[in-house]
């Protein structure tokens, strides 16, 4: 299971990761010695955070710049932890980490409380579709393991999260440095009756697959294998079957699945998550960017849609300016026609109800028009056809989810 750890800089993400590795016995031999030696070179005590912060600059500047991944294992399953930087300049790296994760842990320093990036990260998790988070209130040792301080931060946090559309499944008081409530419940906080962090992680259920949804297959490429045209791609949802009646969107051309192929085999059917090749009946064609969908449950291709968008580029989004829209394997030129509810993604304060631009680290409800029709779904229905990025010069400038 992939989890991302987010939170404001210095609230203890890296320390928490180091602690998880240590407590699950996941450190390779010699790592502890390397850590001690490096810390001595830099004139500091060995700190767990250095395990996660591998880059030299990070050691010297004492903060996480990029997203990293580390692995640990409990009796129940394997985890990859994604550490996302908590500094505002590195929000793009935080997003890189967060969009790879299935679940999130939000860390808050009990003494500092909710800070700018705590709120922004929480908001972004909700915007990008991670609706459930485990909240950990860290550095409880510095607050004398005091219940009241914990409850104060907890209630502030849950109020904010609700506003951002998130629900914390659990809020856990911890000390990452001392290991309280990480792998087992701490005797320093007997007033806390809930799960430790590892227990909470182990009790998370993996996301349901999209197998019961209608079939969607965006074409990734077309290969010519011994004279036969094979359209390859990943089944996003549902089940694709030999003989199935489908339409090729957005043109709505009818077709039939003649064969489903993987190397060395022909399959009768394949379900969501499988990367396969298909052959269509004689006379039918499909190209990259087209979406093969099951009849009758078809989405209506459109060239206007509304989305919740987060902007992560120094160059603002402006009305009427050209960008590239990417969704699954689709790409189309696009422009923003209306920008509504432009807001600060940390305070969630509305800057303008209607605006002509959207700037770095702001979010808004944006109406887009694409140059040609595209195939979209509600994010809550079929995620991968409901999320998108906006690019300029082949670099993502914004990311969002389709709302209508």
């Amino acid at each position: 299971m992939k989890i991302v750890i987010v939170g404001h800089v210095d609230h203890g993400k890296s320390t928490l990761i180091g602690r998880l590795l240590l407590d699950t016995d996941s450190l390779p031999e010699g790592k502890m010695a390397e850590l001690k030696r490096i810390s001595k070179e830099l004139g500091r005590d060995a700190e767990l955070a250095y395990l996660a912060d591998q880059l030299k600059e990070e050691r010297e500047r004492e903060m996480t710049i990029d997203t990293t991944q580390t692995f640990f294992r409990t009796a129940r399953r394997d985890y990859a932890i994604i550490d996302a930087p908590g500094h505002v300049e590195f929000i793009r790296n935080m997003l890189t980490g967060a969009t790879q994760a299935e679940e999130a842990v939000l860390i808050v320093d009990v003494k500092a409380g909710l800070e700018e990036q705590t709120r922004r990260h929480a908001y972004l998790l909700g915007l990008l579709g991670i609706k459930e988070v485990i909240a950990v209130i860290n550095k409880m040792d510095l607050a004398g393991y005091d219940r009241e301080s914990f409850e104060r931060v907890k209630s502030g946090l849950s109020g904010f999260l609700k506003g951002a559309g998130l629900s914390p499944s659990r809020t856990i008081p911890v000390s990452a440095r001392n290991g309280d409530n990480i792998s087992k419940r701490s005797s320093a906080m007997r007033w806390y009756k809930g799960a430790s962090l590892l227990e909470a992680l182990d009790s998370l259920k993996p996301k349901e697959t999209a197998e019961r949804k209608p079939m969607r297959f965006p074409v990734q490429d077309v290969y010519d294998i011994s004279g036969e045209k094979i359209a390859v791609g990943k089944v996003l949802s549902g089940r694709i079957r030999q003989g199935q009646e489908v339409k090729v969107l957005p043109s709505m051309a009818p077709a039939r699945i003649k064969a489903i192929k993987v190397f060395g085999k022909t399959l009768k059917s394949a379900s969501s998550g499988a990367n396969i090749g298909i052959v269509l009946d004689e006379g039918s064609l499909a190209r990259r960017g087209e979406v093969i969908a099951e009849v009758p449950d078809l989405p209506q291709p459109k060239n206007r849609f509304k989305a919740d968008l987060f902007w992560m580029s120094e160059e603002p989004l402006r009305l009427g300016k050209n960008f590239v829209f990417r969704c699954a394997t689709q790409e189309a030129a696009c422009v923003a026609e209306r920008i509504e509810r432009r807001m600060n993604s940390s305070t969630l304060e509305i800057i303008e109800d209607s605006s002509s631009e959207l700037r770095l680290n702001e979010a808004a409800a944006v109406h887009f028009r694409t140059e040609r029709p595209v195939v979209l779904e509600d994010f809550d229905f079929i995620e991968e056809l409901g999320r998108f990025v906006i690019e300029a010069g082949k670099v993502p400038q914004g990311a969002g989810i389709i709302t209508s």
Binding site: T70, L95, T99, D221, V232, F263, P396
Partner: protein
């Protein structure tokens, strides 16, 4: 779909994405277990025939078992094999005794630069994994490199969901890492499941085996009695010794790897 399938399927998606964006692409095959696994998955992704060249960076110092394996499977799998060598440096006597960093730089990085230029490759598939080394945990799946191969790890473009970087024209080539999400143990479990061939050096002989293979002078074996794939899997589930601990470069100095990487090392 089980765990190994999900790792494999993600790799298939990335490899196909890479080929769809860059027709002038190549795969770097070190003949080690990771790049051989990548090669194996590429054969599946492209229905048995890999539609682009496979590059072996040959320093001339590789184990003889590596050359034998390369030649045998290049034939069996019908690969378009390109051998990349820095002939000039070798003639001038470059070897690990001249300094490990210098040697790696000349015989690997410079050789690759030359081949890239000659063949005009715009993208390279590499089998690095996040769990290999701390610095590699920072890698993206699609990672742009400048003409002198530098990796600007401080200003990497964001990579959201599975929207990968395509060429902008300003970068010299893009490195693509379809195996980033695999761990060493995953690789071995997969090799076991697929009954994939691997170089015999990985299996213990007289109480020693190699966990990582490359140039003979710079690779040390580890104590092990694992002489089958199943035993290697079991050994890895228990071990705490870092995989690359047999590699000379990593021992010298804690920043060597970061230096090598930002200079373009694989």
């Amino acid at each position: 779909m089980d765990y190994l399938d999900s790792l494999e399927q993600k790799t298939v998606y990335i490899v196909r994405e890479a080929y769809s964006r860059f027709r002038n692409i190549a795969l770097l095959w070190s003949i080690g277990k990771d790049s051989t696994t990548l090669l194996w998955i590429c054969r599946k992704a492209f229905f048995g025939k890999i539609p682009f060249p496979v590059v072996h960076i040959d320093t001339g110092f590789k184990f003889k078992e590596i050359y034998a394996f390369r030649d045998e499977y290049a034939r069996t799998w019908g690969l378009d094999l390109v051998i990349s060598r820095n002939k000039k440096a070798l003639e001038e006597g470059m070897c690990p005794d001249k300094g490990k960093m210098e040697c790696c730089n000349a015989l690997k990085t410079d050789a690759l630069k030359k081949t890239l230029k000659e063949k005009g490759f715009k993208a390279l598939l590499l089998a690095i994994r996040r769990d290999e080394h701390g610095i590699r945990a920072k890698e993206r799946y699609f990672s742009p490199r400048t003409a002198d191969f530098t990796w600007d790890y401080q200003h990497q473009p964001p990579e959201l969901w599975d929207f990968y970087k395509t060429q902008a024209g300003t970068e010299e080539h893009i490195r693509i890492h379809p195996m980033l999400h695999w761990t060493e143990a995953d690789i071995w479990r997969y090799i076991e499941r697929e009954k994939m061939p691997v170089v015999s050096l990985y299996f213990a002989k007289n109480g020693k085996r190699y966990r990582s293979i490359g140039c003979q002078p710079c690779c040390a074996s580890v104590d092990s009695r694992a002489d089958t794939i199943a035993k290697i899997v079991r050994e890895l589930e228990r071990t705490k010794i870092a995989e690359r601990s047999g590699r000379a470069q990593d021992k010298e100095d804690s920043y060597t790897m970061q230096k090598l990487r930002s200079l373009g090392y694989m």
